[in-house]
């Protein structure tokens, strides 16, 4: 059986210490000047998931994209900063060697893992009413970055503007999505999917200004078992901006299973040039 491109891209081997993992970027998830940020974020989660000292499952992740990740090998360090009875806090970094052979940090992250328990529960962010998947078509775009081919995206609102004509509008995008080819949902793929939304400023301004995520935080509301239940079915994702100022804007996101279970909520800060 051939390994899924995402699993191939996430392949980490043990490094020089128990907290060190070695990997390499994958052309399959390449964006314009570096890998797709969702993939880089997933690497942080993958390192934690592979760590022998792991307690529980991911509940919170913050990733900082501190510099473009270059094509080639990288080292991830994932250190359990504190392990409590039912929670664990991780500090993570990804580094690459520069031309002089010195390690330089390209990503920093923190992850919280926890043993999930049954408690009272409520979903105050119900899935919006949108057209069913069967009424949608996969988005195909000529000349897009390679990583977009790794996702089956079906916009039901807020698609990438057909014309970048500077006509200002809202910033809400809603879409059905899944891995292409399909792959059973887990924490790493959910992490990546929380970052599939193109920069809100392109939609808001109908203008393609240079933009890139600088920090991203995702909370996982679903257990591993709930993700396994979703399997290869589509997720509904939604993203919307709050404020644009001084070269940075934020966008919030929610991801639901096809049956309305809120799987993850996310927020990110995005740099924009003008």
């Amino acid at each position: 059986m051939t390994k899924h491109p995402f699993d191939h891209a996430l392949l980490l081997t043990s490094g020089s210490s128990g907290n060190t993992f070695l990997g390499a970027t994958s052309p399959a998830y390449w964006n314009m000047v570096g890998p797709f940020g969702g993939y880089t974020a997933a690497l942080a989660v993958q390192a934690v998931m592979q760590h022998p000292a792991l307690l529980g499952e991911p509940v919170a992740l913050t990733v900082n994209f501190v510099s473009a990740t270059n094509e080639g090998p990288f080292t991830i360090t994932a250190t359990p900063a504190r392990t409590n009875r039912s929670t664990q806090h991780w500090v993570i970094s990804l580094s690459q060697r520069n031309a002089a052979g010195e390690p330089e940090v390209a990503m920093t992250a923190t992850v919280m893992t926890a043993l999930r328990r049954d408690t009272w529960q409520a979903n105050d962010m119900p899935m919006p009413v949108v057209p069913p998947i069967s009424d949608t078509a996969r988005d195909h775009r000529h000349g897009s970055p390679v990583w977009l081919e790794r996702y089956d995206m079906r916009f039901v609102g807020g698609s990438i503007p057909a014309q970048f004509d500077g006509r200002e509008a809202g910033s809400l995008t809603q879409l059905w999505m899944r891995d292409e080819p399909p792959r059973p949902l887990d924490f790493v793929s959910l992490t990546a999917m929380a970052d599939v939304f193109y920069p809100r400023i392109w939609l808001r301004r109908a203008k393609r200004v240079a933009a890139g995520t600088v920090s991203m935080t995702t909370y996982f509301h679903a257990s591993q078992a709930q993700l396994a239940d979703v399997g290869t079915r589509y997720l509904l994702g939604q993203a919307q901006a709050q404020a644009f100022r001084h070269g940075f804007f934020d966008q919030t996101a929610q991801l639901w299973s096809e049956y309305g279970t809120l799987l993850a909520t996310s927020t990110q800060l995005v740099y924009y040039k003008e």
Copy 2:
């Protein structure tokens, strides 16, 4: 002139290395089993603001409350992981010595700072229409934790339930707030104020279950100059939950100046017991 209690609580002196700062918890910002989390978050920002290598102003902060901070001295390490032309990424931790004299991490954080530039701007999260400050009264509560006395809070919606009778409702709180006594707004006080909202689950369920923030992310949309313009005037704050499941819920927050400038957006993940 007497130092404001917040400035007194945030006092950090230089430690053994250029990245190390020494401080001590303040009884003035004490919560139930540790300091008010907003104060602990502000310490991370304060260390960065005092660091001689600082580039720019805070734009993003994530704080993980990995263990209760004990009363007494602590050491903060703030390391610039990467400095770019106009942005800088920080990795921060706060540790205290345990009974055996060994350092234990109580907080981890990442901060991104940047040089702010004038760009196109928009506020897609306008300030809600609420009663003016003059129509509100300061909230006073018998037997509250000490830190609540450090804030003048004036609820205009979603106040702490008068009766914890288990009657389920929404989770939206809106309030006017400022430091008590008044103190000119800056990044550290804004950081703390993004965490003044009591756990949404108390409002949502009208039930006072054990709850505590485990991770918090704040994006600063205002410049230092804009915060200085706010001065000692009130902010309007708003917080609302998205999902409660498996012992954790998230709440999002927005803070505006009295005149409607969106100063910060925030999200946090909160542990709850049952």
